[in-house]
Every structure is written in C-alpha cells, then in structure tokens.
C-alpha cells in the first residue's frame, strides 16, 4: 500500500485559518509525479482549482464519517475529477476564487487576482452565502471600487488584522438588497 503524504486541513479550518497559503507552501516542493492527500470537512473545489494551476490532478472521495479525502498528484495535467454536486460540497457555490468555510465565516482569497475578478468573486459569494454568515476577504489591496457595491447590497465592512501586505476584511450583512 502506498504511504501518502497526508495534510489534514480540518484543524486549520476549525481554527479559522485559511488553509490555501499553507497548502500551496506544502505542495510547492513536491516533485513531478509526487502526490499528497488533503483531508477536509468539505470538498475544497476552489482550492483544487488552484492546485490544478500548479500542475496537480486531484480526485475527491467522500468518506463514511463525512469528511473528504482529496488525492492530488503532480502529473502536469491539472484535472479535477470526482467533482461532486454543489450539495455535496457543503460550501458555497464556485465563485471563481478559493473559498473555505471556517468557524468565523466563509473565507475568500482573492490575492494575486487581476481586476475586476476579485470584486466579481466577492459579490458572487455575497449572493450565495446564507443570512447571518460573515465573509472574510483576503485581499492584496484596498478594494475601493467594491465598497459602494457592498453598501448598495446591504453589507457592512470591518477591517481585520491581516498578514503583511494583506488587506483582510470582515463582511457582515445588515440588510438584504438586490443589485441595481
């Protein structure tokens, strides 16, 4: 039986830590043909798409206890297979950016994305999360064009302490309004 390098994301996610950066750092040294197994409380489809861009094909399997095992292999193909339905994901629908659900809210990482993709991804996420659920945005710049749109949609914004070079925001819905 193959001994896989297993990276359990559940403690990070439970602790409110966005696992994306950690996963990218973890997989970066893996040579061509190498593999890693990620364990997560849901199928992290956006994260798998990021890994696909780094040359990893991944297959997701839901385990009997409800968590997901994602086998990622650096074959240069970047296939994302075993993709479940949105319901199986137990996370928000695909918004075009890595999204993970944690205890403090739904985290979205739009760093290194070119405008206007971050704004679109965040607004799509705003439209899909449940009432009462906060969104934590990880950005690399002040999204000044986003604020009027968020205010229009009834979202409040609160700055949080972030990593160096990061702008981290908590979005909280105060009222539900449609895009105009």
């Amino acid at each position: 039986m193959t001994d896989y390098d297993v990276f359990d994301l559940r403690p990070l996610i439970a602790g409110g830590i966005d696992p994306l950066q950690r996963v990218v750092e973890h997989v970066r040294p893996i040579a061509a043909g190498g593999d890693v197994v990620l364990v997560a409380p849901f199928n992290p489809l956006p994260l798998r798409r990021v890994l696909a861009q780094l040359g990893f094909s991944s297959t997701a399997d839901r385990q009997e206890d409800g968590h997901w095992r994602i086998l990622c292999q650096r074959d240069g193909e970047g296939d994302v297979s075993g993709t479940p339905t949105a319901e199986d994901c137990k996370g928000p629908v695909d918004v075009g950016a890595p999204v993970v659900r944690a205890v403090d809210g739904v985290h979205i990482d739009v760093r290194a994305m070119t405008a206007p993709r971050p704004m679109l991804a965040i607004l799509r996420l705003c439209a899909t999360v449940a009432d009462g659920e906060d969104i934590i945005v990880h950005h690399d710049r002040d999204p000044i064009y986003l604020y009027p749109e968020l205010a229009e949609l009834g979202w409040e914004v609160e700055p949080l302490a972030g990593d160096a070079g990061e702008v981290r925001l908590r979005l909280h819905r105060e009222a539900r309004r449609d895009l105009r």
Binding site: T114, A115, P116, R117, M119, L120, L123, R124, R141, D142, I144, Y145, Y147, P148, E149, A151, E152, E156, V157, E158, P159, V167, L179, R180
Partner: protein, 427 residues
C-alpha cells in the same frame, strides 16, 4: 460601516472629490450651453460645412467642453486607482482645470463672435491645459506594466492629443496669417484626430475598465481588445494622411480598417455585456448602446460625404452624428453611472454609512435627460437630412430640456455629497 486606516493607502491615490467633480460640473454646464446655442442659431446648422460661427462654437462646446472635460475628470480619478500609482501633482490637476475651463470659454466665444484674439487666447489656454493633462497622464502610465489593453489605447489617445493641438493651433493661426495650403483638409484631419483619435481612443480604452465595472462583468478579452486598438490606430493613421494629402482611395482604405477595428472592439464589449452579473443596467446603458451604434454610422456618413454624395446634407450629418450621436450619448451614459459611484466612494469613512449609489441616482431627471437626448439626436438628424431649421430647433430644444434634467441630477448629487461631508465634519 467601519473603515479604518487601511483605506488610507487607497485614499492617498484617490484625489479629493472637488477635483473630478469640478470637471464633471463644467461638462454639465457646457452641454447645456451647446444646446442653447443650437436652439438660438438652429437655422445655421443645416448645410453647415465648417468655419467660424455659432455652429463651430457649439461643436467645440461638446468636444472640448463636455468630452475632454469628462475625460480629464475621469482620468484623474480612475487612473491612479487602476495603475496603483498616484498622480504626480494635485496642483497640476487643478491648474489643468483653470487653464482649460476659461480656455474653452474664450475659444468658443471667439468662434461664435468671430473674434480672432479670443480664439487665439482661448486656443492657447486650451492647448496648455491639454498639454498639462497629457503630461500628467503620460507620467502616470510610464511605469505601468499591466493593463496593456487600457494603456495601449491611452498612449494612442495622447499621441492624437498632441497632433490635435498642433492641427488646432495651425487652424486658428491660418484664420489670421493664411499659413495652411489646404485649410479644409487640415480641419477634417483635426476633426478625425479629435473625435476618433483622442476622445474615441480614450472612451474605448476606459471602456475596458468601466463597462465591466458597471455591469459587474468578467474582464474583457485583452488580446482582441489590443488587436482592435491597433487596427483602429492603423485606420486612423491612413485616414489622417489621406485627408492631409487629399487621397480618396487611401481615405476609404483607412475608414474600412477603422470600421473593422471598431467591429472587433464592439464584439469584445458585447462579450463583456453578456457575462454581466447586474441584470438591470438602467437608462445609462441606453445611451451607451446608442453611442456604440452611432460610432460606425458616423464613419458611414463621413465616407458618403467624402464621396461627394449630397455633401450639404451628409457633411453636417457626419459632424452631428459623430459629436452628438456617438460622443455625447456615450459620455452622458458613462457620466450618469460613474458620478454617483465616485460620489458614494468618497463618502466611505470610519463610523459612517456611505451614501448609496441608488440614492444618488434619481430616476426622473435621468429619464428626462434620456428622452430629451434621444429626441434631440433624432430630430436634429432629420432636420439636417431634410434641410429643415425648424426640426433642428425642435431637436435642440429637446436636447436643452434633457440637459436641464441632467443638471438637476448633478445638482442633487452635489447637494447630498456636500450635506454628508458637512454632517461628517460636525460629528
């Protein structure tokens, strides 16, 4: 909404609201002034073939007063946020306005009253304002590595701006000293460089930022957008050379190339619109779409006039569709979207709710403006086609009412912005 110091990084690149809004306010004023002139001197518009007079003044009130003013205000506000680099000098931005605004007043006064001294002083001030603007924008664009599709358009626009200033000043000097061998050829080259080259490329370039922003759409196809820019530039170059040397086949080749580039640009924009998240786009996009439709139509009228077909009608129609149909429609559509958005952005501050964009966009005055503008474009075009001063006057009156609707919308927005800032200071 709580915005802490983290906004300050962006704020340091963002000019205070008084700078862009002084340009936008001037554009609103000049739109009104242009329609007043046409209402009063409507009988002079059918058959107008150029030369000093009220119609030339009205044309320049729109091209310089509305289009270039809007372009300056929008560029000073949006460019630093897009390029992530502040403009070199806020004082220079203000100086641009204080050179350009009186310059447009003096130039159009001189054109209207055929006073050469006013045209020369106004032209000089306008040229200085434009050169200062060009310098600030070029300095900001100089070290930008990304957003190639936008910067390509802006570089072409800036090059056209320099040509425009040279042609414009030569034309003014020619009235006095007779230095040009072919005044009409240079005047036409000046019109093409101004409307399609400078203002056109600026409008098309900023569309790659503004249209996805307004529609909340996927980013535009950069490769085809850049191809479109260079094909249009090729077409423009051929057309200008053809007009200067009086070569008809070259003129038609240039126009064909230009239209092909426009087609490519509009295809890219159609794709952007298709991918949008925002369903209801409002009246502003009726005007933006009208501008898109009338842009290639203006080329058609230009070619028909160049071919010598009913020049006394197709010539004025070319100028009117180009300036009032394409440029004014498109810019007014953009302005009514961008102004409330920027105003709302300027009200974001710690501990206070920003003014909502929707509360700054009252439907009624904007509906009055849209209907007035559409009526004006239709009636004036009919008046020019049928050689009817009455239809032109009715159309101009419709445009005048529309411009008052737009002025009401602008005044309401400034009032709310001022009240919000006053309240914020008291708190």
């Amino acid at each position: 909404m709580i915005f802490g110091d983290f906004m300050m990084g962006a704020r340091s690149r963002l000019l205070g609201p008084s700078i862009p809004f002084r340009f936008f306010g001037a554009a609103v004023f000049f739109q009104f002034a242009a329609w007043v002139l046409i209402v009063v001197y409507a009988d002079e518009m059918p058959g107008f073939q150029g030369g000093p007079g009220e119609m030339l003044a009205a044309l320049h009130l729109v091209t310089l007063g509305v289009a270039v003013m809007t372009a300056m205000g929008a560029a000073f506000q949006i460019l630093p946020a897009v390029t992530k680099r502040p403009l070199r000098s806020v004082v220079a931005c203000k100086a641009t306005f204080w050179l350009f605004f009186p310059g447009v007043l003096a130039l159009t006064h001189g054109m209207g009253h055929q006073q050469l001294w006013a045209m020369e002083i106004g032209g000089g001030l306008v040229a200085c304002g434009i050169l200062l603007f060009a310098g600030l924008v070029a300095d900001n664009l100089r070290q930008v590595g990304d957003m190639k599709v936008v910067t390509d358009h802006l570089w072409v626009a800036l090059t056209c701006l320099l040509l425009l200033a040279v042609f414009g000043l030569s034309l003014v000097a020619d009235f006095d000293y007779g230095i040009l061998p072919d005044h009409l050829g240079v005047a036409l080259a000046h019109a093409v460089v101004a409307a399609y080259g400078f203002m056109g490329m600026l409008a098309l370039g900023f569309s790659f930022i503004l249209i996805p922003l307004f529609g909340l759409s996927a980013p535009a196809d950069e490769r085809n957008g850049r191809r479109a820019a260079w094909v249009i530039t090729g077409g423009l170059s051929l057309t200008v050379v053809a007009l200067l040397v009086g070569n008809s086949p070259l003129l038609f080749a240039g126009a064909a190339l230009g239209v092909a580039g426009l087609g490519l640009h509009l295809r890219v924009m159609a794709k952007v619109m298709k991918s949008r998240m925002r369903e209801a786009l409002g009246d502003s996009f009726v005007l933006i779409r009208l501008g898109w439709v009338l842009l290639p139509v203006s080329v058609g009228f230009g070619l028909t006039a160049a071919a010598g077909v009913a020049v006394d009608r197709t010539g004025p129609l070319f100028g009117f569709i180009l300036v009032f149909g394409w440029l004014l429609s498109f810019l007014m559509g953009v302005l009514q979207r961008i102004m409330p958005f920027l105003a709302s952005m300027h009200t974001v501050r710690p501990g206070a709710k920003p003014i909502l964009v929707s509360s700054l966009t009252p439907a009624r005055p904007l509906r009055v403006h849209m209907i007035g503008h559409l009526g004006a474009v239709l009636l004036v075009a009919v008046g020019l086609a049928c050689d009817s001063g009455l239809a032109v006057r009715l159309g101009a009156f419709s445009g005048l009412i529309g411009s008052l609707g737009f002025a009401t919308f602008f005044a309401n927005m400034i009032w709310k912005l001022w009240r919000h800032h006053t309240k914020g200071r008291k708190c």
